[in-house]
Structure formats: structure tokens, C-alpha cells
Amino acid sequence: MSTTAIPTNTKWWNGGRSPFNISYGKVMMWYFLMSDAFTFGAFLISYGTIRFSVNHWADPNHVFNAFPGFGHHNLPLAFVSLMTFILIASSVTMVLAVHEGHKMNKKGVENYMILTIIGGLAFLSCQAWEWTHLITGDHAVLVNGHLEHWGTTVSKNPWGPEVMFNGQEVATPGPIAFGGYFFGITGFHGFHVFSGVIINVVMLIKTKLGHFDQRGHYEMIEKAGLYWHFVDLVWVFVFLCFYLV
């Protein structure tokens, strides 16, 4: 998008105009997102510090290798790719809703908001399945000389180094931090997706009631859009830190 030509000698800081050339609400949404970026950043960096400090960490290709309906087939990266794609697609429908808002096209905004909400719900469903699979799955772990069957939880990590036991390779307990970081960070992100869906539903209702037509602009859709894109942005980094590397 091109902006109208701005005079080169515009005095942005002389008062009477926004030095950032956007409304107060949008500036504050950006600053909120920046602080949220530091919160997520601190979580992910803390995870990285602990992961760097131990000799063994769970191999993500080993932990996240299931896909609904495929039983015990080994499909590393497949399900999380689907989740990533769902979020990218819902980001596109969101930016299309903003685009329709610029054109004051109420019907278009409604349709794209509905698609965005469906994308958010689809992502949350995927995450619910993934968590259930990890928590309820059971894996043989050698604990104090005998085999136990563990799921992945905040207090149990069955993905430690493998040892030979009675002629077969068996995992030992891994660093306990794995479950806490995984469920903590993906849970915090999932909570953002959930609140994003709620915000989008509110925006859809307000659009349907004609509030933005009365107001003369669809800037609220842009603010909700900023939040939604931020959720996608965070997922890009969660995808990198937990699943890819």
C-alpha cells in the first residue's frame, strides 16, 4: 500500500498531530504487543537456557510424531505443519477482513471474520488433540531398574537417553523441565489464540450490529487484526523452538 505523499519537511513533533500518524488506540495496541513479545521472548529464552544447560534433550521428531487417525505411524512434523498452515491461513482471512473494512464493505468483513474464527477454533482443536495425545500416551521408561509406563506431563518426561534393558532399547527419564516448558509456553500461546477468538467474535457481533458503519470506520477490526497477527507471529517462533530445532 502506498501512502499519500508526505511533505519532506513535516514537523512531526511540533504538536497538533500524532507523531506516529496513527490513532492512540493503535499505538497502544502496538505497545501492548511489544510487551507481550517480551513476555513470550522471556519464556522461550528461559527454555533455551535450560535446554543448552543439559546434556540431553528430547528429540522433537521423536516426541511429536503422531497424526490423528494414523495410529502409531511415525509422522514427524506432519501435524504441527497442519497447525502452522491453519494459523497462516487464518491470518490471511484476517488481513482480508481488514481490507474489506477499508472499503467499508460490511458483508465482506463479516464473511472473513467468520472464516478467521473458524481457523482459530480449528487451531485450538488441534492443540487439544495434541495435548491429550501427549498426556495420555504411555511410553516405557526405565525407572530404578524396572519398567514403568509414562505419559508426557509437567512432572514426567519419558524422553530421556536410551539404555539397553533385557536386550532392548528403553528410554530413561529425561529432564523434568521439558513438560513444564512445552505445556507452559504452548498453553500460554493457546490462551492467546482463545482470547483472540473471543475478541474476533465480539468484533463480528459489533460488525453485524452496524456499530462500525455508524462510527464511519472499521479501525476496531484493524486492532483485533493486529492482535491476531501477533498470535500467528508468536506461533512462528514456538514452531521454531519446540518442533523444528
Binding site: T10, G41, N61, H72, V95, H102
Partner: protein
């Protein structure tokens, strides 16, 4: 295209694009970058144990750079930060530079922690090296 003035302090209303070409182009760019990331992820998976430390780290760094590129496209196009004036872009980007120190210092610290643990506080040579147990298909347990 009529420009909507949402606030009297906004003196230059941006002229919004009439088409959606740029949005879809960005969608394909993001999908393509994700595809490359997945390709490198699978490359790491299928060559695990055969590649040396440097090759694995370089591949992971490449994936991280591609992720930053994706972040750039999301923020610049989807969040329209690229369309704002320079003042606005700088008030967001400059504080985020803190992450450069944040990531470097803490990962360095984690690595130092591991070295101290493996060498008993530096009193004897390292005995264990960091390694990841390769995922092997046969041990997908029921």
C-alpha cells in the same frame, strides 16, 4: 479510494490498496518459507547421527533465519507496519533490539552452565558431550 479519518491528529491518511494481490503474494511467500523450513527439518531428521556438530548447527541457524524472514513478512505486510511512517516503525523496532542481548547472554549462560557441570566446575576435562538421541522408527511403542 476514500480515506477514512479516524482521529483529528492523523494528518496523512494512508491510501489503501484496492486489490488483494499483495496479501496473497505474502501468503505464498510464507507458505514457501515454511516449506523450506520443513524440508530442512526433515533433512536433519533423516541424516541425524551422520552429520557433524557444525552441519547440524548451521542447518538450525538457517531455519532460524528463515523464521525471522517470516516474522518480517507478517509484521510488515499483514500488520501493515511497513506502511506506517518511520517514527512509528522505529518506536517498535528499536526496543525489540534488546532481544539481541537477551538471546545471546542467556544461551551463552546456559552453555556455560553445562560446561561447568560436565567438568565439575572446571576441575577436570569434559566427559560428556551434548547429543540428542536420534529418533528411530522401530521404538514407536504402542
Amino acid at each position: 479510494m476514500s480515506s477514512q479519518v479516524t482521529s483529528p491528529e492523523i494528518t496523512h491518511a494512508p491510501e489503501h490498496a484496492s486489490g488483494t494481490g499483495r496479501i496473497w503474494k505474502t501468503f505464498w511467500v510464507l507458505s514457501f518459507l515454511t516449506g523450506i523450513e520443513l524440508g530442512l527439518g526433515y533433512l536433519l531428521y533423516y541424516t541425524h547421527g551422520n552429520w557433524g556438530y557444525t552441519a547440524v548447527i548451521s542447518t538450525k541457524l538457517t531455519i532460524a533465519v528463515l523464521t525471522l524472514l517470516k516474522a518480517y513478512y507478517i509484521v510488515s505486510v499483514f500488520m501493515h507496519l511497513g506502511d506506517e511512517i518511520r517514527n512509528m516503525i522505529m518506536t517498535i523496532i528499536v526496543p525489540l533490539c534488546l532481544f539481541i542481548w537477551f538471546i545471546t547472554a542467556f544461551l551463552w549462560d546456559g552453555n556455560s552452565w553445562k560446561n561447568l557441570r560436565n567438568t565439575n566446575g572446571g576441575s577436570h576435562p569434559a566427559q560428556t558431550e551434548q547429543h540428542t538421541v536420534p529418533a528411530v522408527e522401530k521404538d514407536a511403542k504402542p
